[in-house]
Amino acid sequence: MNPQETALRFSGVRKTFGQVTALDSFDLELKQGELVTLLGPSGCGKTTALRIAAGFEQPNSGSVFVKEKDVTALPAHTRNMGMVFQNYSLFPHMSVAENVGFGLRVRGVDAAERDMLVREAVGRVQLPGLEGRYPHQLSGGQQQRVALARALVFQPEVLLLDEITSSLDPELVSEVLDVVRELKASGMTLVLATHEMGFARDTSDVVCVLDGGHIIEQGPPSQVFTAPQSERAQQFLQSIINSGRL
Amino acid sequence: MIRRNFWSKVILVIVAAFYVLPMIAMARFSFQRVPVIKLGWSTLGKNWTADSLIDAVTSERFLQAGWLSIRLALLSVVLSLVILIPTTVYVHVMKKSARSYVEFLSILPYVVPPIALVVGISGAMKVLGTWFLASPFSLVPFYVIISLPFTFRSLDTSLGAIDLKTLVEASRSLGASWMRTTRMVILPNLKVGIINASFLSFATVLGEFTIASLLLKFTLPAYLAESQGSNPQGTFSVGLLLLVVSSLMFALMNRLSKRKGHALTGLTL
């Protein structure tokens, strides 16, 4: 696998909901193994971008490519991308093992191999031994990590993470971010929409700041955080710094 | 997606029709003096009159039954509230652990169908002597019992919507007397529950037939059963009136509770 190969590419994506333009002229390219963070105020379009990549929304115009294959018209369940949601969305009637193994089951993987892969994924998110528990018995941080395991167990091309720490108590955030760090270190391609500025600055390869559906700043963290070029981005980052979150 | 919307609409329209059509038929029967056999396009608009309803509601029997039903309903509401308000306030403010016990007792009436209850009443109360069952007001405690699931739930829900215990403690720690606290903290939160419980109880009693008829009390539903033969149109029109009044009461109650932010997720549950 060529590490410099493009894993995910948005090309001129535009999405409107009625009168509201959620995304416009959205161009973004991710190389294999990169971590891209989408930042911006609420309603800026970062969730929309992720949902379009996953296939839950159709763009009005523009295309999405996965490894240079046009997936724009493909239904979500055929795209082989993992997604983790803000509210975990674990299947409440299934155990951790069943949740994580569900993606394998629908792909026809047999029980023995499923078992092994599930155990491996659960270990990777630092939850060994909890395979038999049910979602309502787990903390928010644990549930989110199970959601991560579920999304990566079938080795997706890209992992899409939509504000995965926003619903968590502060002390649980770090355990989830640690897992994300480890995933990046192991070579996974990740797109992360988040408010966690510190994490964005320290761990991303590319930072993409959105506002009102447009990209107002894009580049490596060293550039975006210390020398933002657009005024709007400067304002946004300044307000974050002032609030002490950076 | 479009196709699913189409079928959804179809289903809702069919079910809505099922709800509405019988009422239309009832209204037509009550208010149109044209026997069904003679009904046709030409006679559709003829002979509509509210006479049968007027005759029925001014009749001796109706007034007797109606007056009894109203009194029974009012007494049941009062008795329900007198018993339940202190009890529910107590378990919400003082002893939350007792709440499950009260809740359990409040759903017990579900497992005893009114017909079984009335059978037991005649057997059990014989011991007390016939004086108790002779009075029509002996129905009141039993009406309180059968409305218990709804009335408890109404009060319980409205008190449980906020953490009443903490609010009461906050109020007391700010220096308010018990009277003040009751007036300004407990009662406002109870208001919605009281309204709901009252409406539910009232509507239930107005329509209750089983116990009343087997204990030979002459309430509105009993009137309906009795006059059916002698004055079908009038009786049906009174029945329709009862349905409309009950529906309005429930609807109003729903409206009121929604505005205060308490959704009634299922009256009977």
Binding site: H93 | Y90, V102, V119, G207, T210, N254
Partner: protein, 300 residues
């Protein structure tokens, strides 16, 4: 001068007058309520069972056992059949209504109207409802006439509003809204995000329904069925009015046994039927409550 210790002890509830309650044992405060339920619910129920366990005149078996044999069993089975049928039909149609309403959720207010109406309709019943259906589908019914005009003659088809099929239709009037009320929160609980999560790991819509949608709905479906069954089984007034007291249902038959009791000496059978009704209700309601608890746990 240990002020803090004193204020801890001097807790709010310890001030009179209501504070007095704190000193009273809780059972004292709850006594009026408990007593009321005991006298007006538990005592009559106990009385039912006491008589039901006595033998019927001329036999040595307790009445309850007598009641489930031979001809008496017919009434019980008839009621069970009616209740099961109306529960089943009501469950299916009520669920369809709930699913339809939720999928049309772009129409704001539709849901509220539906909940409001269902809350009303689920409690309608008894005599007025029977009247409405007699006016619709009875011998002189408006729709009977309408149907005959287009060639469907109900009496030729052997349909009578007072028969089994007629009662089924009338019962559905309140069974359907009841099921709708049960299923609306359950269908809501199938949040869109679950469907998306399933799609994101590669499940087709059918796989989603089979592995996630249906299993999550099942407790509510089954619980709703039990609730509807209990509701139909305990109904009396509607069937009584439709059949003019002649129906084969247990509830109506109980009356027959008790009205003629002193002559036939079979009054204990009436009590026995009532006792069996209570047993059925306890089973159905426990099932319903247990299932509801499970689905609520998932909806957290």
């Amino acid at each position: 001068m240990n002020l803090t210790v004193r204020s801890e002890r001097d807790s709010l509830a310890e001030r009179v007058p209501f504070g007095v309650f704190k000193h009273m044992r809780s059972w004292v405060v709850l006594a009026p309520f408990t007593l009321f339920v005991a006298v007006f619910l538990l005592w009559p129920t106990f009385s039912v069972f006491r008589s039901a366990l006595q033998p019927v005149e001329g036999s040595s078996k307790p009445a309850m056992l007598e009641a489930i044999s031979g001809q008496y069993l017919d009434a019980i089975l008839y009621s069970v059949r009616l209740s099961a049928l109306t529960a089943g039909l009501g469950a299916v149609i009520g669920t369809l209504v709930a699913v339809s309403a939720v999928s049309l959720n772009q129409f704001k207010g539709l849901r509220n109207v539906l909940v409001g109406y269902s809350a009303v309709a689920a409690n309608l019943g008894g005599i007025p409802l029977a009247f409405a259906f007699v006016a619709s589908l009875g011998m002189q019914g408006l729709y009977t006439k309408l149907l005959s005009v287009i060639g469907i003659n109900l009496s030729d088809l052997g349909f009578k509003i007072s028969d089994f099929s007629g009662i089924v239709i009338v019962y559905l009037y309140f069974q359907i809204p009841l099921m709708t009320l049960v299923m609306l929160p359950a269908v809501d609980g199938l949040k869109v995000t679950l469907k998306e999560a399933a799609a994101s790991v590669g499940a087709t819509p059918r796989q989603y329904w089979r592995s996630i949608g249906i299993p999550l709905l099942s407790p509510s479906l089954l619980g709703g069925f039990l609730l509807l069954f209990a509701n139909a089984f305990s109904a009396y007034a509607t069937a009584y009015a439709l059949s003019a007291g002649g129906s084969n249902l247990v509830s109506v038959q109980i009356r027959f046994y008790l009205q003629g009791n002193t002559i036939t000496g079979k009054s204990n059978l009436g009590y026995a039927l009532a006792a069996w009704m209570i047993v059925v209700m306890v089973l159905a309601m426990s099932g319903y409550l247990g299932l509801r608890r499970r689905s609520e746990r998932w909806r957290k």
